[in-house]
């Protein structure tokens, strides 16, 4: 047993008082969860502490909160780990971000989460005719979509989505991961329509800025950003969807610039995003209009010395040998695109060379038959943290 001090963000809409912090000290073993600590405080000291919770085992998705500023499930965070990241040894728990607070740690997920889920047409539009028995589909496809099926709708990704902070109408990481679950499902008949819809929506797949916050936040390894990137790849590569938001061309510009220079050339990014790789790209009317509207940003960048006029005229470029390495990466990725997935691991036996299991041997009772392991993380470490 050890003592832990919780600092809870309290808010009662009925008192008219603003939110405030309240501390409780609880006694629990260090590997118990923050949820158990909150429930102990609730049971012993104050039954009015509000938190949604149910399964206690990271399956129901109820107890999304921010712990020391980071979103997670309260039941999925050990006290000792939370303590290590705590300022002044006090574990801070507050409601998730990007959502209105109802009471204490309870937030309203309706507008920023459930409505967005509803937005992506979240049901299977089955291929016709419906077979008498099951649809015959490749084994891997069902294992593949299991990663997005594993989403428990806890809202942790939505809480810290930076794009959503800037654009509250962004469909968001959870709903787009849900969309992948249908686009990746061979039984669905509307892949093209779904992707067109999500690409053409100015708050759709091209509104994500690759910040990785949702991957970091997700307690279930769903990796919403990866699912969004897969939606983009399938939209552009497999369906050739070129959207009116210029998202597809903008992404293509990144790819071609890095291929050419090894580094991003910001000055050419905008023209190429409109005119492609053509040297006349900067003269397409839309590029001009965009350039004009970007002038304040460009001026600011110049003033802050983020870009210099010299760099614009003479783009930085890697040495030739380094460029060859870059080219090899491109060749490899384009020849053999390998989609990383939580459930598809690609190997059957353990890789050799890792240490022997110790815990079981130490307990004296059993010898395990597994020789060595390579799951990439030690027990106790979540893949997402």
């Amino acid at each position: 047993m050890a003592e832990f001090t919780l600092r809870l963000r309290r808010y009662n809409p009925q008192t008219g008082a603003p939110p405030y912090w309240e501390e409780h000290t609880v006694e629990l073993e260090p590997h118990r969860s923050v949820l158990e600590a909150i429930l102990q405080a609730k049971a012993r000291f104050d039954g009015s502490i509000g938190i949604r919770c149910s399964c206690r085992a990271a399956i129901c998705g109820s107890c999304g909160v921010r712990i020391n500023g980071k979103p997670d499930l309260a039941c999925h965070t050990h006290l000792d780990k939370a303590q290590r990241h705590a300022e002044a040894g006090v574990i801070e728990v507050e409601p998730m971000g990007n959502m209105p607070i109802i009471k204490d740690l309870i937030v309203d997920m309706e507008a920023v989460h459930w409505k967005k889920i509803q937005r992506v047409t979240p049901w299977l539009i089955a291929k016709q005719p419906v077979p008498e028995r099951e649809y015959i589909v490749p084994k891997e496809t069902m294992i593949d979509v299991t990663q997005s099926m594993a989403c428990i709708q806890c809202g942790a990704c939505v809480s810290d989505c930076l794009s959503m902070e800037v654009d509250p109408e962004f469909i968001g990481p959870a709903a787009l991961a849900k969309a992948y679950r249908f686009v990746g499902d061979p039984r669905d008949d509307q892949h093209f329509e779904r992707l067109t819809d999500l690409a053409e929506d100015p708050h759709g797949i091209y509104d994500c800025t690759h910040c990785f916050m949702c991957i970091d936040a997700c307690p279930k390894g769903v990796a919403p950003m990866s699912q969004i990137m897969r939606l983009r790849r399938i939209a552009s590569r497999d369906h050739g969807i070129v959207d009116r938001n210029n998202g597809e061309r903008h992404e293509a510009a990144f790819v071609s610039l890095v291929r050419q220079y090894g580094l991003l050339n910001e000055a050419e990014l905008l023209p190429r995003s409109y005119g492609g790789d053509s040297p006349l790209a900067k003269f397409t009317p839309r590029a001009g209009a965009e350039l004009a509207s970007s002038l304040p940003s460009i001026a600011k960048a110049l003033l802050r010395r983020k870009v210099t006029p010299a760099a614009v005229l003479k783009p930085h470029k890697l040495a030739k040998t380094d460029l060859q390495q870059i080219k090899r990466i491109y060749d490899h990725a384009e020849k053999d695109p390998f989609e990383l997935n939580l459930y598809i691991t690609g190997y059957d036996e353990d890789l050799a060379g890792a240490e022997k299991p110790e815990a079981a041997a130490a307990s004296g009772a059993v010898q395990t038959s597994a020789e060595s392991g390579q799951p990439g993380q030690t027990p106790g470490e979540s893949p997402t943290r």
Partner: protein
């Protein structure tokens, strides 16, 4: 005031399936739940769903396995319906989008499960319940203009009209505290079991048996309440579930000698005997000093014998649970487990269409007792139970409402419930805390009404439960507000739990034999002559539980000695 042909209380698999089935017939439907539907405890069902869909399988084999699993207490007419309709239901789920895992030919893959004579369990990794629940919720979103959802509404009472027919319910909007009467031609309970009567339990905090107690208070009989399932593999640390799918994929159970002790108890099925048999075997090993762990109260589950790729694609969730909640990498070392409370076979007595003896009141899923599980439920039969009888209830209730006028539920009940809540909030801080009483209840049930039981222990438990009922009536709450007052709801839930627990103890004392999950050390044998019957409990005029019996329906399988 909302009025619907069918009101469904509880939005897990049974409730959502009932809602969709009723809506398909054109009925107006409302579904209400005290949590958001995807938080329902069905989400935790891991291993899969049974259906005889393999070419070499037949539903009658599934039915026989279920009858045998029930220790011949299950009603065979209901079991025949469940098992014969299972393949069609599984295909329906597949067609609406459940991502069942496939075999190399692209067909539904099937895994082995406890008590089954064949591989019969369709699955989505080890998140089958979650996958099905989320897909049903997708369908509710699709039919959002047909099915009204009342999410985070807490039902406080069922309303009976002057003829004793169910005419609706009273509920409280958790977010605002507003009370409302819901008129309905029929009400379907799908609000789950009451595992929270036990500590530890695999069940979620919401599993407080609300529907069982509400129906009991309305006068409906509850049946087979003594049959409480202990799951063989719950985390020794805190009682979390480790799916039977692990043993289905080939994992071993080992005692302190490193031996697969199941060969002594079930030489043919080994780890895949029915759950009551495996749990008893584990408890015997522990009681006889062959347990593992610092206090000798555990058993090792060795998943390392399953190929790692297979573990990672099909048992991913228990890899997470081992890592996050026990600090164990199950792909490398065995994990310490023990039997733990998991499921209640008993519940509100219904027929094969979900009808309770109260007209207009239906029940389906864990809240109900059809009885398809009898003395012991087979793994992966619970999802099937919820879906088959959820659907049948929804269809039957919708049909019943076709030629009926909308009842107008008497409003008195709303005032009574509102007054009751106000009185709880107004209690003086002289009694005990709700949480203390709940903990004592859980420890008592797990201490005396567990895998092994005897009369003395059961009588002790009954005394404690009755004292706790008195204390609960005076327990105080801290929260005096109306917005998300979870405190006052937990006081109401505690009352529900105590009603259910009392019925379980009374029925366990009554059944003087050992059958299925009930093992009486003072009556160690099954006694078909006297006890091949269901125990029903109804609430008497004095508020005390009254015992009666009903026969077991036998269609084609006479009771025989049960060996695995």
């Amino acid at each position: 005031m909302p009025a619907h042909d069918v009101l469904i209380i509880g939005a897990g698999l049974a409730g959502q399936r009932a809602a969709l089935a009723a809506a398909e017939t054109g009925a107006t439907v409302a579904i209400m739940s005290k949590v958001h539907p995807v938080r329902s405890h069905s989400v935790a069902a891991a291993g899969g769903i049974n259906a005889a869909i393999a070419i070499d399988d037949d539903w009658t084999e599934h039915a026989y396995d279920t009858v045998k699993g029930s220790d011949f207490l299950g009603d065979q007419d209901a079991i025949e319906i469940m098992c014969s309709e299972a393949p069609q239901e599984a295909m329906h789920l597949e067609h609406i989008g459940v991502t069942f895992h496939r075999n190399d030919n692209g067909e539904l893959d099937l895994r082995a499960f406890g008590g089954a004579s064949k591989k019969r369990t369709a699955y989505v990794a080890d998140i089958t319940g979650q996958a099905i629940l989320h897909v049903l919720y997708e369908q509710l979103m699709r039919f959002h203009n047909v099915v009204d959802r009342f999410e985070e509404w807490f039902a406080t009472s069922l309303i009976l009209d002057d003829d004793g027919h169910c005419a609706g319910a009273v509920a409280r909007d958790i977010r605002t505290g507003a009370m409302e009467i819901f008129d309905a031609k029929s009400v379907i309970l799908g609000s789950g079991g009451n595992g929270q009567c036990y500590r530890p339990t695999t069940n979620a905090l919401i599993c407080t048996g609300d529907g069982i107690a509400q129906a009991y208070q309305a006068g409906a009989p509850i049946m087979d309440m003594e049959m409480v399932q202990y799951h063989p593999t719950t985390l020794a640390e805190n009682g979390f579930l480790i799916t039977e799918g692990a043993r289905g994929e080939g994992a071993h159970l080992l005692n302190s000698e490193g031996r697969r002790f199941m060969e002594d108890y079930a030489p043919n099925k080994m780890e895949l005997a029915s759950r009551d048999v495996v749990s008893r075997a584990e408890q015997t090993e522990i009681n006889e000093g062959r347990g593992v762990g610092p206090d000798g109260q555990g058993i090792y589950l060795d998943v390392t014998v399953v190929p790692k790729k297979r573990i990672l694609e099909s048992l991913r969730e228990i890899v997470n649970i081992g890592r996050d909640f026990a600090g164990t990498d199950i792909t490398r070392e065995p994990i310490m487990i023990r039997p733990g409370q998991h499921y209640i076979m008993g519940g509100v007595k219904t027929d094969v269409d979900g009808r309770t003896p109260i007209r207009g009141l239906y029940a389906a899923g864990e809240v109900a007792c059809v009885s398809v599980h009898g003395g012991n439920r087979l793994g992966a039969n619970s999802l099937l139970d919820t879906l088959i009888f959820g659907r049948r209830s929804g269809e039957h209730a919708a049909a019943r409402g076709k030629d009926m006028a909308m009842p107008s539920a008497p409003a008195a009940r709303l005032r009574e419930d509102a007054d009751h809540i106000a009185s709880i909030i107004g209690r003086e801080r002289t009694g005990r805390r709700i949480s203390e009483i709940k903990d004592e209840l859980g420890d008592t049930m797990n201490g005396y009404v567990a895998v092994y039981r005897d009369e003395e222990g059961l009588n002790t438990a009954l005394g404690i439960v009755r004292r706790l009922k008195e204390e609960a009536a005076k327990a105080y709450v801290d929260d005096h507000g109306t917005v998300f007052n979870q405190d006052v709801l937990s006081a109401i839930e505690l009352g529900y739990m105590l009603d259910g627990a009392e019925a379980t103890v009374v029925a366990s004392i009554e059944r003087k034999e050992s059958r299925g999950a009930q093992f009486r050390t003072d009556h160690p044998d099954r006694n078909d002559d006297e006890w091949l019957k269901h125990i029903n409990i109804t609430r008497g005029a004095d508020g005390e539980p009254q015992i009666s019996y009903s026969p077991v329906t036998i269609t084609r399988w006479e009771p025989e000695v049960r060996k695995y």
